[in-house]
């Protein structure tokens, strides 16, 4: 049923995957349109908040504080959730988390589950595991439904199907929902999804979700959504199973007053998203599921926690603002990143979730322009983490790659004035065979060898001038001295 999941362990390198995406005109048009719309909306609702920067700072401090005391807050959450009738499970990795969820579903005797959009369950490829166990998962978020029915993969954290346009969605719905006629207006398509899913909501007795925030103080869980599919899955089934990364915990209910202002404005450009649900364990008077399980999953998050410079990656609240702002993401879309976490946050999160054994090209998938840092609601300095990870990749690859040797040589040059001068002279000599004069008599290079060839694919390079600045300066000093005499 579902397509081949995005898996960083087997994905091609970013430059190779990006090359394929750049040729997809329709995808690029769709991505450019969607990110443009969200960016404009976000800018408008952020602009109207006089205390936006203060909220960002508070958000950063809350997240930083939580990570510093993660063990404390997770245990507090566990205790309060359990007291309220929830069952807390712990998972060291994706495999263990899948095993727990599949086991719980099977214990219910369920053959179907309804699911709320959840990046965490995408991360652990839960649907594939459920299907292998003979359980059919119904994705109920409109975008996730489009992805699932189209055997596609999510390309954005918040709007996973933004790479599809209405005509493409209509085609998928018509085929998969067996509809004779279907209009192609977004309203027609949303109505079709409503009809298709309503019957599932009323029938299926087991729900599976992720979580936006776990509230340590109360043992409550908060989910932020738009369509109401989340409320359906959280309210109507008899059993609810929630999978959450251990990074999702927040200390107190009060802290939500910061995060619930930052998240919707950053994610979808709304003042508040249509629905936030908060529930605590199970309700004794029959409001909502009678059984509630929550799986607290590590899956390499503690590795990130142990790296002081990488740790801020865990502050992420999954708003996707960095993706919309990123000039690289807007050219390639999300699939090029080979992971469910795409864009700038994906470029730092994915390699770290793989302990840098895979996805080594992702830290380089950025021009370090800083647009991501500028919009991040909890002030994750993504460029700083990218540079940190590049250093780790370099160390992992060792000192003998052609690039490392070239860098070492350049390093020696910059450490000595004499060598620097010599290199400037040598550069002029070395480039000479490549230089061609243009109509204005200016020298240009139109082709470069090896590693540098990427530059001259679409760009010329101006030849080095005959005199460096320092040579000019010295000449001037000399003539001034002689004039002084």
């Amino acid at each position: 049923m579902s397509g081949q999941p995005l898996d960083p362990r087997t994905a091609p390198t970013f430059p190779a995957a990006a090359r394929a995406m750049l040729g997809d005109t329709q995808l690029r048009k769709n991505v450019r349109h969607a990110t443009g719309v969200i960016q404009t909306k976000r800018a408008r609702v952020v602009e109207e908040m006089p205390d936006w920067q203060e909220l960002r700072e508070s958000g950063r401090q809350i997240r930083e504080h939580t990570m510093r005391h993660l063990d404390h807050y997770l245990q507090q959450f566990e205790q309060n959730c359990t007291r309220a009738g929830g069952v807390v499970h712990w998972a060291r990795d994706a495999e263990e988390a899948r095993r727990i969820v599949v086991g719980l579903v099977q214990a219910e005797g369920a053959r179907e589950v309804i699911k709320i959009k959840s990046m965490t369950t995408e991360e652990i490829q839960l649907n594939k595991a459920l299907e292998a166990a003979g359980v059919h998962p119904y994705e109920t978020d409109l975008a996730e439904l489009i992805i699932q029915l189209g055997q596609d993969q999510p390309s954005h954290i918040v709007v996973p199907a933004l790479h599809k346009n209405r005509q493409q969605i209509r085609e998928i719905f018509q085929r998969e929902m067996h509809l004779g006629t279907l209009g192609e207006s977004p309203q027609d398509l949303a109505d079709a999804a409503r009809r298709f899913l309503r019957e599932k909501f009323l029938r299926v007795k087991t729900g599976v979700s992720g979580a936006n925030f776990l509230i340590a103080e109360t043992g409550g869980v908060c989910i932020v959504e738009s369509e109401g599919n989340g409320r359906m899955c959280l309210t109507l089934p008899e059993t609810l199973i929630t999978v959450a990364g251990i990074d999702k915990v927040v200390p107190t209910f009060k802290d939500l007053e910061v995060l619930l202002q930052l998240l919707p404005r950053s994610a979808t450009g709304e003042r508040m998203n249509p629905y936030n649900s908060i529930w605590t364990g199970v309700d004794a008077d029959g409001d909502g599921p009678r059984r509630f399980h929550i799986v607290l999953m590590d899956n390499a998050r503690t590795e990130i926690l142990a790296d002081e410079e990488g740790r801020q990656t865990l502050h992420c609240i999954r708003c996707g603002a960095c993706q919309n702002a990123c000039p690289v993401y807007r050219q390639t879309g999300g699939h090029a990143y080979g992971s469910v976490y795409a864009g700038p946050i994906g470029a730092i999160l994915t390699p770290q979730l793989q302990v840098l054994n895979h996805a080594q090209t992702l830290p380089y998938a950025s021009s370090l322009c800083g647009a991501c840092y500028e919009v991040c609601p909890v002030k994750i300095n993504i460029p700083e983490v990218l540079i940190h990870l590049r250093n780790k990749v370099v160390r992992k690859k060792g000192p003998l790659t052609p690039e490392a040797l070239a860098m070492r040589a350049m390093g020696l040059v910059f450490r000595s004035e004499r060598r620097f001068r010599a290199a400037q002279r040598m550069g002029r000599v070395a480039e000479a065979p490549l230089v061609r004069k243009d109509g204005q008599g200016q020298g240009w290079i139109g082709w470069l060898p090896g590693l540098l060839g990427g530059w001259t694919q679409v760009r010329d390079l101006q030849a080095m001038p005959q005199q460096s600045f320092r040579e000019w300066w010295e000449q001037r000093e000399k003539s001034e001295v002689s004039r002084g005499n």
Partner: protein, 246 residues
């Protein structure tokens, strides 16, 4: 003045222009000969070990300067955002103290004029249609804001036109342009399209690195549009014979 390695080698005219402007304003310019590179390329590409020794070299060259003027925002960002941390990493308390004392005296060229000297009009004359690209490091790391634009607006004879998507990255990003050449090209295509749409004769910025990137495509496409560093515009004077854009 810290000219920076690539301006020294590839864009001496920018250095000369900085000297011209500063001397015109009555300042004395010194050029410590031992200067080389700030270490940005190594640092940003992941070769931190190669970048670390350059901190001490920079301090040794510039410790006595009243102000260090640098015609490159990305190099200033490197010094301002990373040198304190790098000095700490080296574990040299003396160096750390010197970095701390020196960094507040390091200015990007336009920043030195607008913030340190409080100037907008530096007596320049440049009778050309020009558009301005806000380079990422200048915009986001140094928060130059509209400083460069205010300097440009005060230039006599200039026809300054707004660049659509002025704050969008041109796709250079140092080794990014080589490692991810295709994506970089796609980003560059948007930038050059915007530049051409302004019908400007020249595109200016505070960073020759971005300009070299943009110029590379403008030249390959034979557009006839030039790039010129902000310092060179500000250095131009009315000599009776108006020169062409660079």
């Amino acid at each position: 003045m810290f000219i920076t390695c690539y301006n020294d080698t590839l864009f001496p005219e920018t250095g000369k222009a900085v000297v011209r402007v500063l001397e015109r304003l009555g300042h004395t310019v010194e050029f410590p000969a031992g200067q080389t590179c700030c270490g940005q390329m190594h640092w940003n590409t992941g070769y931190q070990a190669e970048a670390l020794p350059l901190v001490a070299r920079f301090v040794a060259q510039f410790r006595h300067a009243e102000a260090v003027v640098v015609p490159s925002s990305s190099c200033v960002a490197m010094i301002r955002d990373h040198y304190p941390k790098m000095a700490a990493e080296l574990g040299d308390a003396g160096l750390q103290a010197e970095v701390e004392a020196l960094v507040p005296r390091v200015f990007e060229f336009s920043e030195f004029l607008t913030r340190r000297l409080g100037l907008e009009d530096v007596g320049a004359y440049y009778p050309h249609r020009v558009t301005y690209h806000a380079s990422c490091h200048g915009l986001r790391n140094l928060e130059l804001g509209d400083g460069p634009l205010r300097l440009l607006r005060a230039v006599r004879g200039i026809d300054l036109v707004v660049l659509e998507g002025m704050e969008q990255c041109c796709g250079f990003g140092g080794t990014f342009a080589v490692k991810n050449a295709e994506v970089s090209s796609a980003m560059l295509a948007e930038k050059t399209t915007a530049v051409l749409n302004t019908r400007a004769e020249a595109c200016t910025a505070c960073d020759n690195s971005c300009l070299m990137h943009i110029q590379g495509a403008l030249h390959r496409q034979r557009t006839g549009v030039q790039t010129v560093h902000l310092a060179e515009i500000l250095a131009s004077e009315d000599t009776g014979s108006a020169g062409a854009a660079r």
